[in-house]
């Protein structure tokens, strides 16, 4: 009962209220309350994430597994940042209410939290993403093969887009007059044709398909037919 029926009831009810709230103006406020709760839970999930991180890393350190020292660094970084932020260390006092302890802004580069964000967190994430440029180059060489007509189409389109997105497009085909009968050979023309007609059409169909999948799954969940979230937890 507590383990299955109640969760299923919670699920159906919250889903139905939100659907109802969209169509019936008088229930709009219910939907708003449900969404408010949802957003609070989303913030709690961050705490959960941090808790998981702690658990995994503490276990690594206590069992002295290989690389436990890195787990220690992770924890130190975590607690420093957490302390800076939660205690609002070095925060700029609130202009109107300078006496209220936690009313200040803690995110400017003048406070340790803001400083760490600006000079440690931000460059680290940005560089992590930037590494993908290298991997995509390596994948271009090692993995992207013209195996059949489909992959030739894919790679051929990619070539056109890659060229047309840069000055190479104008350089190679810019001399073809825009008004001539051969204007369709211009790379910028091809790019617009591909993105606006073919890619849009392809993505529309994919979007429609995925939307139907989402509808079916959501419906199965709300009706209590799909219970995968129960049995696997």
């Amino acid at each position: 009962m507590l383990q299955r029926t109640v969760p299923m009831a919670i699920l159906s009810l919250s889903g139905l209220i939100l659907m109802l709230a969209y169509f019936s103006p008088m229930t709009t406020s219910w939907g708003e309350t449900v969404l408010d709760w949802f957003n609070i839970l989303a913030a709690v999930a961050f705490v959960l994430g941090a808790g998981n991180l702690l658990a995994v890393n503490l276990e690594k350190i206590s069992s002295r597994r290989a690389g436990w020292a890195y787990a220690a660094i992770t924890l130190i970084a975590f607690f420093l940042m957490l302390g800076f932020g939660l205690l609002k260390v070095g925060a700029v006092p609130n202009a109107e209410h300078p006496t209220v302890a936690f009313a200040g802004g803690y995110e400017t580069a003048a406070s340790p939290f803001g400083w760490t964000y600006e000079y440690i967190f931000s460059p680290l994430t940005a560089t992590m993403f930037a590494m993908l440029a290298f991997y995509v180059a390596s994948a271009a060489f090692r993995a992207f093969r013209a195996k059949n007509i489909e992959s030739i189409l894919l790679l051929g389109t990619a070539f056109i887009i890659l060229l047309a997105q840069t000055a190479a497009g104008m350089f190679l085909t810019g001399w073809i007059p825009e008004e001539s009968a051969f204007a369709f050979l211009r790379l910028d023309w091809m790019k617009v044709a591909i993105t606006e007609h073919i890619q849009t059409a392809g993505m529309r169909a994919i979007t429609i398909g995925i939307a139907l999948g989402v509808v079916a799954t959501s419906l199965r969940l709300i009706l209590g037919i799909d219970k995968s979230y129960l049995s696997k937890s």
Partner: protein
């Protein structure tokens, strides 16, 4: 949505993951599971820790000095900025060293990132959402005294407080996931989260992704050149809303590429939908249409591929700009 994730872990492009693999010809790189030589590893660790500690000390002094005098303040702001730039540059390079091979420097950078990001998300969720939206209702007086002096006064504080107990309870139950026992307890908030997501996605998908997309696909399959208008409207006008004008124009000129584009758009959507139709085998006319659909899909992916590559390159360009300009001062 998966509630146990930082929200943007679901973005289409996540931070790249490290591949410790090297080609067979290269020196085998260390992997997390492979035993790493303990000693150099740890020496490196202590060095980086002390560097971290030292920079924090300098930073702290800078902050303290900042609150005293103006001259000193200006100097310390500049100091904290230049220390920051050096820090950022070293960390950037630290991550990039992985391209050569896996190494402790990279691992330190990675560990810092993991720790800092988890804390950042938690702090942000706490101050931006939990304090005003949850605690602000549970104990508005305290929140007003301690954190948000101008928190609006509710007309029905008792009712608000009562309602706020629901997310509080669900939140605590969600945190129960951290305990090894009583897994079912966290299923309640999970069910709430899934139900809410299902409820809003169901309607939104039908409205924005099914109906609106179908509507956007609809268009006349024959397009006439709008400029060749006969009678009435001048050459500068491009409107064909007047049916009689459209009629007159229709006699004049067919817009070849416009028509091809319109037909392509519709045929594309329909043929790809045929490909996604699972009840019929891909034979005969259905098979041909599905095959056309696959070609549309491949061109779609090719284009997406090109655009993605562009994005990745931009990100690297931005990092290199930082290194050259802000750090090395080449401009």
């Amino acid at each position: 949505m998966n509630p146990h994730q930082k929200s943007h872990e679901q973005t289409s492009s996540l931070p790249p993951s490290a591949t410790p693999s090297a080609p067979p010809s290269a020196t085998p790189a260390a992997t997390p599971s492979a035993p790493t030589p303990a000693r150099p590893n740890h020496r490196f660790l202590w060095i980086s820790l002390s560097v971290l500690g030292a920079s924090l000390t300098v930073l702290g002094t800078a902050m303290a000095a900042q609150q005293q005098g103006t001259d000193v303040a200006l100097a310390t702001v500049a100091l904290s900025k230049s220390i920051g730039t050096w820090c950022a540059a070293l960390l950037t390079i630290g991550i990039l060293t992985f391209l050569y091979r896996d190494n402790p420097f990279y691992k330190v950078c990675e560990s810092i990132l993991i720790g800092v990001s988890a804390a950042y998300w938690m702090v942000n969720g706490f101050w931006s959402t939990l304090v005003p939206n949850l605690f602000g209702k549970l104990m508005p007086g305290v929140v007003r005294d301690v954190a948000i002096p101008s928190l609006p006064v509710s007309a029905t504080p008792g009712f608000d407080m009562a309602l706020a107990f629901v997310p509080l309870l669900l939140g605590l139950m969600l945190l129960w996931r951290l305990s090894p026992k009583g897994g079912w307890i966290s299923v309640w908030p999970l069910a709430f989260i899934i139900g809410t997501t299902a409820g809003i996605r169901l309607v939104a998908s039908i409205e924005a992704d099914l109906l609106a997309q179908a509507s956007a696909t609809i268009r006349p399959l024959v397009v006439f050149k709008e400029t060749v208008l006969v009678g009435g409207i001048g050459a500068g006008s491009t409107t064909t809303s007047d049916p009689s004008v459209a009629m007159a124009a229709s006699v004049q000129a067919l817009d070849f590429w416009g028509t091809v584009g319109a037909v392509t758009g519709v045929v594309g959507v329909l043929s790809v939908l045929t490909y996604f139709f699972f009840s019929l085998e891909h034979k005969g006319a259905v098979g041909k249409s599905a095959r056309l659909g696959v070609w549309f899909l491949m061109i779609t992916f090719g284009s997406a591929f090109g655009l993605t590559v562009m994005g990745r390159i931009t990100l690297l360009a931005q990092r290199l700009e930082f290194l050259f300009k802000d750090w090395m001062g080449i401009s």
